[in-house]
Symmetry: C2
Subunit: 341 residues, 2 copies
């Protein structure tokens, strides 16, 4: 009996050491999500601004049809994305790419799959004006918002002392500040990084080890396990045209540089288990399959079925606490509010 | 000085008497919204069921496109309706009638503009299956919900002891119970009914008096100031085809009774100032104009501009406290979840 107890004690001690080693290695590549939303340079956080941004994020009257809001495609109830594979926009048009998640987007170094927006403020202006998304114009958005006294007041409170508080730039700034609050801390992975050995199961730990040792974390690293670099999709082997449609040249469309052909921003993996389907084309519906595709296309090494299961299990630990948002009561329209188009 | 004070005291006393008289008259026709949601016969309220109903109400995956939820057309941020005049449905099709508000709908004796659903449970089943709305089928809805273990559990908790908790009937029951909680108590009108003389301004009191004396309250009465009887639109004079499209025969389509030609359920007026455009056709954008149309069409008496302003001011006091709803985090889809169509 004594030797069994001693044996267990040694085993636990070995496991603790091994968990500590795993954490030490992981902390050289990953960071936990902070408990509080970070500051945004040039756009200080105030409760009035966040509240205004929340209203704007959920307000379908920012679209020409007045039927589509930011939340239509970046649904905060489903991991910050829609049901996919691509999004329904104005006139039931479909965009060419999967909606990226708005959750933890502040930790990406750029926005959109091709990184064409440098920050969330710049990003927010895109879909409002895109003819196949919200199909509005800055003029229409401002005319709409200015027609509602409660919005005029809310902009004054959110941007005090400015000569023109209700501007398109401030619409984007308010949405940015709200979106910055949409972080998902305290995932089990973060609990592990922060010192809790038991936050991950043995399988999940094996998955984390494989994720680092097999090379996934060479690109999927940092706070978001991605979102901070660009890589060609198909470093080793191009996926089929269903997954990598030949007409979508990725970052090449932004930089016009030959080496950016089929280059995309590395997908951030926080909450990835909550937001199938995967890849910019949204054509892969299972996370295990997505892991297998990545191994073949990017690493050039088939993972064993066991390794795929372990890495997938690890990815499941990246789901954090989802934001608790009170659904906003929006300013009522007036007779001066433009009608839906 | 003494006589001035006495004069003011008499004036206040006269006003108090007059307010009391107005309240006495009003209470013979109207009732305040209760502070608590009412019970639903055959569908007892439990926190688990309300929570499930909240998730279903906001879940776009109940539609074939997985892009439209109950909240798309009955937006809780804008008075329980969309931007109008009619709603965007599957494939960008437009329905023929304005979305009715879901707020306080429990106090209506029937649902839809033509009263074809006897209660909210029956109503909830309609849009899910309507080809120009959510375009789903009961089979598709059940297959979708059963593919997500968190929904399977939530139905077990909401309908304990039932042999088949996840049924289409229970989907509707959960939505009904959630919708019953969507009441807007403590409007200024209700504060007045409950004894606060100062809750209404002099103009608003004059509007309430006119609303009763001119005959509006003959149909717009009860808790919802409407919603509990059927009347022909155009009792005295038919409005133009823009407001009363000749192809929409109203309740006649339900009853096939000649006397139900162009008969509609009397519109409930709670929160009416928050939810332009007006009438089943959604073609009148201002509340003053809507009041004027009603006077001509239903009462046969032109109201003076002053009376229209007063009645409109009174209608503005019907806006109550809007429901505070936490935006739900929805169960994540699985590989078994049907794809969007």
């Amino acid at each position: 009996m004594k030797s069994i107890v001693a044996g267990i004690a040694i085993l636990l001690s070995v496991q603790a050491v091994s968990a500590a080693d795993l954490r030490t290695d992981a902390l050289t590549q990953f960071k936990p999500i902070p408990a509080e939303a970070p500051d945004v340079k040039g756009n200080p956080f105030t409760p009035a601004k966040v509240d205004l941004g929340r209203k704007l994020f959920f307000d379908p009257r920012l679209s020409a049809s007045q039927a589509l809001s930011c939340n239509s495609c970046h649904n905060l109830g489903t991991g910050g994305v829609d049901a996919g594979p691509t999004s329904v926009g104005h006139g039931w048009q479909r965009g060419p790419r999967r909606a990226p998640t708005v959750l933890n987007a502040v930790f990406n170094t750029s926005q959109f799959w091709d990184g064409r927006a440098e920050d969330l403020k710049a990003q927010a202006k895109g879909p409002m004006q895109n003819p196949i998304e919200m199909n509005a114009t800055p003029e229409l958005v401002l005319k709409t918002l200015k027609s509602m006294p409660a919005y005029v007041d809310a902009f004054k409170q959110a941007f005090p002392g400015e000569s023109e508080p209700l501007s398109f730039d401030n619409v984007a700034k308010a949405i940015e500040v709200f979106e910055v609050t949409l972080i998902t801390p305290r995932s089990r992975f973060d609990q592990f990084l922060n010192g809790d050995d038991k936050a991950l199961s043995t399988t999940e730990k094996a998955g984390l080890r494989a994720f680092m040792d097999k090379g996934c974390s060479a690109c999927h690293n940092g706070i978001n396990l991605g979102g901070d670099s660009y890589q060609p999709f198909g470093v080793v082997e191009k996926p089929g045209a269903d997954i990598l449609p030949p007409d979508d040249h990725g970052r090449f469309a932004v930089t016009k540089t030959a080496s950016d052909q089929y280059v995309f921003r590395v997908a951030p993996l926080r909450n990835v288990a909550l937001r199938a389907p995967y890849f910019h084309s949204g054509q892969v519906w299972g996370l295990e399959q997505a892991v297998a595709v990545m191994a073949t296309a990017q690493l050039g090494s088939e993972l064993t079925p066991q390794e795929i299961k372990e890495v997938t299990a690890f990815l499941g630990t990246l789901s954090g606490e989802q934001p608790k948002i009170e659904y906003p009561i929006l300013p009522p329209r007036t007779e001066a509010t433009p009608k839906a188009q």
